[in-house]
């Protein structure tokens, strides 16, 4: 193990870790926004929206995220979409994560007991009122943990943007493996940084989950 080399390259990894964090945050926010739209579409009264929502989930979950990134970044200019690598990374990964999160939110809403909705409707609430005042508050509690799993996967998924040359943790590791031929050392530095990020996010999720519990 070459500790001296590890010490020397560490600052560059730390800088790259900030890019990974920024990417993760933006992707998670965009993913959640897509998921809220997607889940609303899947519960819509109109069949068109339900079909569009289902198609979104099916296409984005049925094809590799890497290919989605490539279509956006390399294919985009052909249909008039010019993005730099970082923007393409956030939008591509965000759309992908949104598809998985749509299913998480949908699952949580379905998991709320049917009687709750029936009771709310019987009391004279509209469909929307029942959803907003009765079902969603209960579903929110159920979706925190599975959304945490989505976010965990999303953080590791940000490594894909290394393939379109965004200088984040994995790209940095790859570059130093290429120039120093010390794969294990570089893997260890990047790996530990990834695990710290995931651990801290995990603490946040666990905290939110505890707060949201009734008992």
């Amino acid at each position: 193990m070459d500790y001296e080399l590890m010490q020397r390259v560490f600052p560059y990894f730390l800088e790259a870790a900030w890019t990974t964090i920024l990417l993760s945050v933006l992707t998670a926010v965009l993913g959640l926004a897509c998921a809220i739209v997607g889940a609303s579409a899947r519960f819509s009264r109109f069949a068109v929206f339900r079909i569009l929502g289902a198609a979104y989930v099916s296409v984005f979950r049925g094809t590799p995220a890497l290919i989605q990134l490539f279509i956006l970044y390399f294919g985009g200019p052909q249909i008039g979409i010019q993005l730099d690598a970082f923007e393409a990374g956030v939008i591509g990964l965000g759309l992908n994560a949104g598809a998985y999160m749509t299913e998480t939110i949908r699952g949580a809403i379905i998991a709320v007991d049917k009687g709750q909705k029936e009771a709310a409707r019987t009391l004279g609430m509209s469909r929307w009122q029942a959803m907003r005042n009765v079902i969603l508050p209960q579903a929110m509690r159920l979706m925190i943990r599975p959304l945490g799993v989505n976010i965990n996967a999303l953080i590791k998924g940000t490594a894909l943007v290394a393939a379109i040359s965004v200088v984040e943790l994995t790209y940095t590791a790859q570059r130093y493996i290429g120039s120093t031929y010390k794969p294990f050392e570089m893997f260890l530095i990047a790996g530990v940084l990834y695990m710290i990020i995931i651990y801290v996010v995990g603490l946040g999720i666990a905290w939110a989950d505890r707060k949201a519990r009734i008992i």
Binding site: P64, L66, Q68, F70, F74, G75
Partner: protein, 218 residues
């Protein structure tokens, strides 16, 4: 530059051969991840601490880091310690190990969920600990865990696109070759997405079928 899908037929054979390689890698890595997962689960649950701990650390490291990073480690790491394997083998081993760790978590839960009476009965009948594990516990544990393992295998198919970055000529890399000579990324990546989607649908159908078969046999 507009879109022109008429360039595809000329390169279709290259891309389809790539698709066959993707299937080969997925099947190879799925087998590694299945049996590797069982092995890791048994080690994590029953091996002496000296053996167990290194494997724990290994699992921890593989669960917490991106697959792409692991592929770089395995590909370049093997070269560094003097084992020059073809990219295909590195890809199968990397993908297989990554998912073996995830499968192992599932197997551990399901092994522990098998009724204790089963082991006791097997031991009473004179089976050794190892025999009881192999012939009684693991077969039952496998049955319970097929649906989530199947989901992991579908994830594995999609993640197999990543081995293109270490130079395995599967579907993604063969599309990149075609793009290299046509400069038509949009057309070929969409084609590749469609092919992945079809393979994905076939896999899902097969898995649902297997799941139903298992339920019937209960």
């Amino acid at each position: 530059m507009g879109l022109d899908f008429s360039v595809i037929p000329k390169y279709l054979d290259i891309v389809l051969i790539g698709a066959l390689w993707t299937i080969a890698i997925t099947v190879g890595a799925a087998v590694v991840s299945f049996f590797g997962g069982i092995l890791l689960a048994v080690i994590a649950l029953y091996a002496p601490a000296v053996v167990r701990w290194p494997f724990r650390v290994f699992s921890f490291l593989f669960m917490g880091t991106p697959l792409l990073l692991q592929l770089f480690l395995i590909y370049f790491g093997l070269v560094q310690i003097g084992i020059d394997v073809p990219a295909f083998v590195a890809g199968v081993v990397g993908l297989g190990l990554h998912f073996a760790v995830y499968n192992s978590e599932l197997f551990q839960t399901s092994i522990l969920a098998v009724d204790k009476g089963q082991v006791e009965a097997a031991r009473t009948l004179g089976l050794s600990r190892m025999q009881a594990l192999r012939k009684v516990v693991v077969p039952q544990a496998i049955r319970d865990v097929i649906p989530p393992i199947g989901n992991n295998m579908i994830a594995l198919l999609k993640d197999s696109a990543l081995v293109s970055v270490i130079g395995v000529s599967e579907l993604t890399l063969s599309a990149q070759r075609a793009i290299g000579s046509t400069y038509r990324p949009f057309e070929f990546y969409v084609l590749v997405a469609v092919l992945y989607y079809i393979i994905n649908l076939v896999m899902e159908t097969v898995l649902r079928h297997v799941e139903r078969r298992i339920q019937v046999s209960r």
